[in-house]
Amino acid sequence: MERQGSERLEVPLTALRDGETGIVTSIKAGRGGGWGRGWGLEKRLMDMGLTPGTKVTVVESAPFHGPLEILVRGSRLALGRGIAERIFVEIEKE
């Protein structure tokens, strides 16, 4: 066991398996060529409830590099994979 106790792991949302839950730490939009800046990706995501500290559950990820179905604040959202890769979450490993 290389990870002990409550060590925290920050990974993109896409790293979660179906059914796993994480806590949003940050959204990395706007970096790297301004992706998402113009249409306010970060703000949109937060407006849908994905603010830092929020619990997110990945219900299912669609095949062929498809979108993720997530549960956040009691609502069910579909997120394109490119977006989900920019959302970082923390999984608490026991």
Binding site: W39, R44, P52, R73, G74, S75, R76, L77, A78, L79
Partner: protein, 645 residues
């Protein structure tokens, strides 16, 4: 009886039943147009209640009042500037927290409001119980529980709205409080604003400046740039304190407030077994099962629409052409008679026999699927496929519509988030073989060469869409967006709302398409009467005969095809004097002709839709591009096929 005029605005998230409430309130007295100069829809209606004439404005369904989307900006400005007498905030009881996030923003706008706590039945099914009295107290706003789909609570809603207006300015609602370090800075900015009058309340302006809201910063900058720069500095301080941008901090805290209220007002009892809606959801988005279910549903839909459409279209045609002798006896066969019948009446007929039989059932099913929630599942399943042409899952819906008719498909591109995305999607939909093109593909290639060749043309069309879609995606400046979409719980659609939505879309289609179809058929009829068609065909012959290897008269049929594409085939039969095309065209000619007919121009109604959505320039560009493309493609196809033949 005062006869006083009141204005009530409906605001809320998408898919919360807002339009159902709107329909209940306004019945048949509604009017759907656009917000001035915008492509955002504006639904308005009137009703009479207790001696008042009440104007109901249905604002677009949105999740926030920021300014990244036109819908949000329009809603915010409307509430702040036009100041409706009361705002009815429609809230989905089954997703309370996210909905209250929006409610809190309305509260910050200091609009007089009441809450319609809708879909109480769905919430209960999911094991969510809400104490409305408590919610009322926590928010300081009247809360009326409703089940809009059954009309429950609508009357009380109206009563409450009128009561609030009659009482004058409403009871004080709570203030949304942020952490002290934020509040401190809000106070500083508010103080600087002091007596300056904006459309928005001072505290709201302060909060929005800290949130780095472009529109408000611009407005304040015009009056006092000092305030904006101070707010920037203060926002940076907050960012340093929290390690997140100030706008993130404020949004988070607003959501926390919504969460706190939600936890206090709602009680969760887990349902005994997962409701049926949940199981349908799992099945229809399933990795394996989802796709065949979708394919089957779509095939069923097209089968139904086309079967019904063919039948109804023939009935209508027979009926109208049955009137022709009567018409001839009235107007004679002189120039006037020819112009009126061949130009105007046939133009209208063309519209009617397409619009009514195909577009009506198509929209009906589509809206049914949309309101039920299935369309969002389809968008979910098709997201990765649509990424191949640089679009995301939602774009599949207009593309799918395109297989019926390109006109609604172009209009349907409004669901895309940015102007760039709308244009890309619309361009792609004009390449989709619509019902009229299907007539040509099946009637010419399918019947005289073989169905497998017809199917190959469909596959080829997909490849063209892929290639041109990618090309457009690469060349059009701007950045791509991606899928962020709510998948609300499955529910039974409200039939009256579906009917009404269908009716408005059909009316819109008629308004856009008919004038140009009629003008177009008049122009062609004129050319025919003046014997100009054959000279035109001769002028076109370098292209049609030398480059495409087709008979001269195809020049004429292709001109008619601009009106509606299946006319290319109908005219071909008329001019060649036979419907047995095998006698007059070689298989290669048939393929070339069909290819050209598929791509050579969006039909005149589609051009009209493009003009309306994107302006003359872009519509013209797409049209010219497709003409050049189709002719080049046809010529190349001729030479390639000649090699293999």
């Amino acid at each position: 009886m005062t006869g006083r005029k009141l204005v009530i605005a409906l605001a809320g998230n998408a898919n919360v039943g807002k339009s159902v409430i709107f329909n209940y309130l306004t019945g048949l007295h509604q009017h759907i147009g656009n917000w001035p100069g915008k492509t955002v829809e504006r639904a308005e209606g009137t009703l009479h209640f207790k001696g008042y004439t009440i104007d109901i404005v249905d604002l677009p369904g949105i999740y926030s009042l920021s300014t990244y989307s036109l819908e949000e900006l329009i809603s915010r400005k409307y509430i702040a500037v036009e100041r409706p007498d009361v705002v009815i905030n429609v809230v989905d009881a089954s997703v309370l927290e996210r909905n209250l996030f929006f409610t809190l923003q309305l509260i910050e706008l200091e609009a007089p409001m009441i809450i319609a706590l809708n879909q109480m039945d769905m919430a209960k099914k999911k094991g969510i119980e809400i104490d409305t009295k408590k919610l009322e107290k926590l928010l300081g706003i009247p809360v009326i529980p409703t089940v809009a789909i059954k009309g429950i609570g609508i009357f009380q809603l109206l009563e409450k709205a009128v009561e609030i207006i009659e009482k004058g300015r409403m009871a004080k609602h709570v203030e949304v409080k942020y952490g002290w370090e934020v509040e401190e800075r809000i106070a500083k900015v508010t103080k600087m604003i002091g007596e300056i009058q904006f459309w928005y309340p001072p505290r709201y302006v302060a909060v929005k400046l800290l949130e780095d809201d472009e529109e408000i910063a611009r407005e304040v900058n015009r009056i006092d740039p000092q305030i904006v720069s101070t707010a920037k500095k203060l926002a940076n301080e907050i960012e340093n304190l929290h390690g997140h941008s100030c706008s993130t901090v404020i949004t988070s805290e607003r959501y926390e407030a919504a969460g706190r209220i939600t936890r206090e007002a709602q009680k969760l009892v887990s349902p005994i077994k997962p409701p049926i809606e949940e199981r349908i959801h799992t099945l229809t988005t399933h990795k394996l099962m989802g796709y065949p279910i979708m394919a089957f549903s779509l095939l069923l839909m097209f089968y139904f629409v086309f079967t019904f459409g063919d039948y109804a279209s023939e009935l209508l045609n027979n009926f109208f052409y049955g009137l022709e002798p009567l018409f001839v006896s009235l107007f004679g066969t002189g120039i006037v008679g020819k112009l009126v019948w061949g130009g105007i009446i046939e133009g209208v007929l063309a519209g009617v026999t397409i619009a009514l039989p195909y577009i009506v059932p198509f929209y009906l099913i589509l809206y049914f699927l949309e309101n039920s929630g299935y369309l969002s599942r389809i968008a979910f399943l098709m997201d990765s496929a649509m990424h191949k042409i640089g679009l995301h899952g939602k774009a599949f819906i207009p593309v799918m519509l395109g297989y019926g008719c390109n006109v609604p498909a172009c209009l349907g591109c409004r669901i895309m988030e940015t102007e760039r995305e709308r244009l890309l999607a619309a361009f792609v939909t004009t390449l989709v073989p619509c019902a009229a093109r299907t007539v040509i593909i099946l009637g010419l290639v399918g019947q005289f060469i073989g169905i497998q060749w017809a199917l190959m043309l469909y596959v080829f069309d997909l490849l063209i869409i892929l290639a041109l879609g990618r090309l457009a995606f690469r060349t059009l400046p701007g950045e791509p967006t991606a899928l962020i979409m709510e998948m609300h719980d499955y529910r039974m659609p409200h039939l009256k709302t579906v009917l009404k939505q269908t009716w408005f879309r059909v009316a819109e289609f008629i308004k856009i398409a008919f004038p140009l179809i009629i003008v177009g058929s008049l122009a062609i009829k004129f050319a025919e009467i003046l014997n100009l068609l054959e000279p035109i065909a001769t002028v076109l012959s370098p292209v049609t005969v030398m480059w495409l290897g087709l008979p001269v008269i195809t020049g004429i049929t292709l001109i008619f095809g601009v009106l509606r594409k299946e006319l290319t085939l109908i005219m071909l039969a008329a001019l060649l004097g036979t419907t047995n095309f095998a006698q007059v065209l070689t298989p290669v000619q048939m393929v070339v002709f069909t290819l050209v007919a598929m791509f050579y121009i969006p039909c005149i109604a589609t051009i009209a839709a493009l003009v309306r959505e994107f302006g003359w320039k872009k519509a013209l560009f797409i049209t010219v591009f497709e003409i050049v493309f189709a002719i080049s493609l046809g010529g190349v196809a001729l030479r390639v096929l000649a090699l293999t033949a």
